[in-house]
């Protein structure tokens, strides 16, 4: 983990500007076994230091691929020069945002490295198990992926701290052929926040989930295309999480609000049924650590939860310090950068629709003719709230009972219209913390949600 070499350089922070100095190391580990072949066996580490200077609302940023006191000096000077350069090209001046406290955030957690040999052995054990147990698969791939962030942050007028964020996952991908010889696929991510030893000391604990994946793939092999149209559906928790992140979350990021998102004119208005409350959690959910805990952001803001929708009413945005000042809100730690060389942008953390009171069984039993959509491969959304999710696992619902499996399909809608159709929510939240969100830079994000009954557009053939 990083040792602090930056503290002494805080003396170089200039008066009358806001400065953040950040040292950072990103690590990744990746092993891929495809149909029994070790096709990727890779380790990567990148480290450096950056500074950001806000002078009259003009930001200068600079980074160097060295983590040394000399590099810190160099980036503070270069960032200051960049802010001055922008100032010379603009007459406008914006007041510096207010400080919301100073202090030091303690270190939570640690990064524990693991030998590549153990990772390969893990993947080989899982692959051998799949090959032996499920010989009828057309193909199989086992991927181990680990990424971790280690940051030391010093600020001129906010919180300082040392934060770490490790996570590791095994992705299991399987494909089978339909009776017509057409391939169908399914995958599952197993793992979570923390290091190898937190999740993978005994591969056998993963086998029940792999068995479930296989059974669903066998159902999908006999699957049918969904009937296109506007349907009543039960969205699984993973789909609920995707809805929270893609369809709503992006529209309430304050930089996108500034860019014209539909959330701008809807603040304080009803955007969902009163069953919907949505929160971007900082680090704790239901008394336990969230999937990707964030205690301090890259502007030195102490992280707290951001309540976005309360009982169906849009009540807030996610902000950085500048946008919070602009919208009269309080920043709660959403400004994050992925690499040492990335400037912080407004990003989600653990974004979630809160649970309701029904059971999943009650939701399914309540649908006469519709679909149960369990898992999604990806999703995208627009400033208007128009969204699309790929559906990789789903079933028909006929007369309150599950029917045939579905082949891959897509659902779409407009978030603030669709959320008003939510009329039942299950009592448990499912989380997924394996994803990356793309917005100029990648960012590790977590999303969660309960099962939701609603109406949605589904694509058929």
């Amino acid at each position: 983990m990083l040792q602090d070499v930056l503290q002494s350089k805080c003396a170089l922070f200039a008066d009358g500007v806001q400065t953040v100095l950040r040292g950072q190391e990103n690590r990744s580990r990746r092993v891929v076994i495809m149909k029994g072949n070790l096709v990727q066996n890779a380790r990567s580490e990148s480290k450096g230091v950056s500074a950001r200077v806000n002078r009259d609302g003009k930001f200068g940023f600079a980074s160097v691929a060295e983590y040394t006191p000399e590099a810190a000096e160099k980036v503070i000077k270069a960032a200051t020069d960049n802010a001055l350069l922008l100032g010379r090209h603009s007459d406008s001046k914006t007041a510096l945002p207010a400080s919301f406290g100073t202090g030091t955030i303690p270190l939570y957690g640690q990064i524990v490295d693991v030998e590549q040999k153990l990772i390969i052995e893990l993947c080989r054990t899982i692959d051998d198990h799949i090959a032996k147990t499920y010989p009828d698969l057309a193909s199989r791939t086992v991927v181990y992926t680990e990424d971790s962030l280690d940051k030391i942050i010093y600020t001129s007028d906010a919180f300082n701290g040392h934060i770490v964020s490790p996570r590791c996952y095994v992705y299991v991908m399987m494909s089978a052929e339909t009776k017509d010889g057409v391939p169908v696929e399914m995958f599952k991510a197993l793992g979570g926040s923390g290091s190898f030893y937190d999740h993978f000391t005994n591969p056998e604990t993963l086998y029940p989930q792999i068995e479930e994946l296989y059974k669903r793939l066998m159902d999908k092999k006999e699957g049918v295309y969904a009937e296109a149209g506007y349907k009543t559906v039960v969205l699984g928790g993973m789909m609920g999480g995707m809805l929270a992140h893609e369809a709503v979350g992006h529209t309430v990021e304050a930089d996108l609000v500034r860019g014209g998102s539909v959330a701008g004119p809807n603040l304080g208005k009803r955007v969902a049924s009163d069953l919907v409350t949505m929160v971007d959690f900082a680090h704790t959910y239901d008394g336990k650590p969230a999937d990707l805990p964030v205690y301090l952001d890259d502007e030195g803001t102490k992280a707290e939860d951001a309540v976005l929708i309360k009982d169906g009413i849009l009540v807030g945005y996610m902000n950085d310090r500048e946008s919070a000042a602009e919208y009269g809100m309080t920043p709660v730690g959403n400004a994050r950068g992925w690499n040492f060389s990335d400037e912080p942008l407004i990003r989600m953390r653990n974004t979630c629709i809160l649970p309701g009171k029904n059971t999943v069984e009650e939701l399914i039993a309540s649908v006469d003719d519709g679909y149960y959509l369990i898992d999604s491969g990806n999703g995208q959304a627009d400033l208007t709230g128009e969204f699309m999710f790929g559906v990789t696992c789903g079933y028909e619902i006929k007369n309150g009972k599950l029917g045939r499996a579905l082949l891959d399909t897509t659902v779409s809608g407009v978030a603030f219209d669709m959320l008003k159709t939510v009329d039942m929510a299950s009592d448990k939240v499912e989380w997924s913390g394996s994803g990356f969100c793309g917005k100029k830079q990648p960012m590790a994000v977590s999303m969660g949600g309960p099962h939701l009954r609603c109406k949605i557009m589904i694509g058929g053939r």
């Binding site: 495809m34 990727q40 980074s63 922008l86 296109a228 100029k440």
Partner: protein, 432 residues
């Protein structure tokens, strides 16, 4: 950024001192100067000095791959140790290898010494033009950056490539806003080696701004029909990459799930379609010069009048499957133009879509795609009419490329690809 050759000499010495007798590596020094835009003003100036080193170590038939950005003497020694450990941990697989001796060559591409003052002026001129000519456009995020890199790649078979390259890149994402009405997000961008042309007149920048401003009033398609979809060049590029990944890429050939596993030499697409990877085309500003396997990159034709000329396999996939490889990693796409003007293609369509981008999942290996038509307009009776919303498109990748109605004479060149408009038949279009 001049000492990289000396760093490489030092890295060779480190690897040899550790008795590594088979390896290949690339060392990169890069610099970025980026002007961030928000609204119609400059927001942030970003300078990035970065390094990168990647190394593959071979221990008999075992291979380990490591990378990092510390290319100091200490950092390279650690990279070498990590590479050795990764190789020793790996399983034997003789299919991992790199190219035989390709000789020594120095490449120079694009522009290495920027005119940053002129770049600032061109960017400011663009922002002023948008404010004056497209008042409803709201720029959400944008960046004007100059990027340059100096890299060296060596391996123990004797190859040494050195490259000096640089380019200006410009990208903006925007919407149109009028009161409480807002459009979806759109964007455009290009890379260039000169600053001769105002940015607003580059590529399809004006058209994207105009289309977005004309999308404030939208309509949803009624019902469901099978029709013709004319894809814009950027949308064609999106579909071409999905097609190549799903039908002829490394993974689907290695695991045998490709629908075109044994189709090389056969006609799989419409005869109007010719697609090549052309990093040496003069319209490509900075093309690939050396592959990740250590080969000198070559231009490669993928489809010639609809005939599949090759899978897109790297050396490992080629060794694993016994099928031919290509000396190209897969970028720098050039699609040959057709013989119809875009205007005439539109006039020939009774009921269809002009689709600017596709928001959908990566299709499975069966090629079935389903998603939302974004930045798209209805075509009715040969005319482009309303912008559409909540409109889905679905079909099969292999089938639509086999049923091309027309390819436009006009090609769009953004400095990284050269692509025309293509009209596809057989796409199902459905509304709410």
């Amino acid at each position: 950024m001049s000492e990289i050759r000396a760093i490489a000499d030092s890295f060779d010495a480190i690897l040899q001192s550790k008795n590594v007798d088979k390896y290949t590596y690339t060392l990169v020094q890069s610099e970025k100067q980026e002007l961030n835009i928000e609204g119609t003003s400059f927001k942030l100036m970003r300078t990035v000095f970065n390094n990168f080193g990647s190394l593959k170590v071979f221990h008999g038939a075992r291979m380990g791959s490591v990378s990092g950005n510390d290319i100091s003497e200490e950092g390279l020694a650690k990279l070498a140790d990590d590479g050795i450990a990764a190789a020793e941990s790996a399983e034997e697989d003789p299919c991992h290898d790199f190219a035989p001796d390709q000789g020594k060559e120095v490449f120079r591409q694009g522009v290495y010494e920027p005119d940053m003052d002129r770049f600032f002026e061109r960017t400011k001129e663009f922002l002023d033009a948008v404010e004056k000519e497209y008042p409803k456009i709201r720029i959400m995020m944008g960046g004007a950056s100059f990027d340059r890199s100096h890299w060296i790649s060596r391996n123990t078979n004797g190859t040494e490539f050195e490259d000096f390259s640089g380019q200006y890149e410009f990208m903006v994402e925007f919407s149109a806003v009028d009161g409480e009405r807002t459009t979806g997000m759109n964007g455009c961008g290009f890379c260039t080696k000169d600053l001769d042309t105002p940015f607003i007149d580059m590529c399809d920048v004006r058209k994207q701004l105009e289309d977005t401003q004309n999308s404030l009033d939208t309509k949803s398609v009624e019902g469901k029909f099978e029709g013709t979809v004319i894809m814009t060049p950027s949308c064609v590029t999106q579909f071409l990459y999905m097609l190549m990944s799903n039908y002829i890429g490394n993974n689907v050939i290695i695991d045998g799930t490709s629908q075109w596993l044994d189709k090389v030499g056969e006609k799989v697409a419409d005869e109007k379609l010719t697609v090549a990877l052309k990093p040496f085309d003069e319209r490509i500003v900075v093309g690939e010069r050396g592959t990740q396997d250590g080969f000198r990159t070559e231009d490669v034709t993928i489809f010639d009048h609809g005939v599949l000329k090759t899978h897109m396999l790297n050396l490992y996939a080629s060794n694993k499957t016994g099928r031919p490889m290509i000396k190209n990693t897969g970028s720098d796409v050039v699609v040959e133009p057709g013989d119809s003007a875009l205007e005439d293609i539109i006039a020939s369509v009774d009921h269809g879509l002009l689709m600017g981008s596709f928001s959908g999942g990566q299709p499975g290996t069966n090629g079935e795609f389903s998603g939302v038509a974004k930045n798209s307009f209805l075509i009715e009776n040969g005319k482009v009419t309303d912008a559409v919303m909540e409109t889905m498109v679905n079909g099969n990748l292999g089938s639509i490329f086999a049923d091309i109605r027309a390819i436009s004479k006009e090609q769009l060149c953004d400095g990284a690809s050269v692509v025309p408009y293509i009209a596809f038949n057989g796409i199902v279009i459905s509304g709410k």
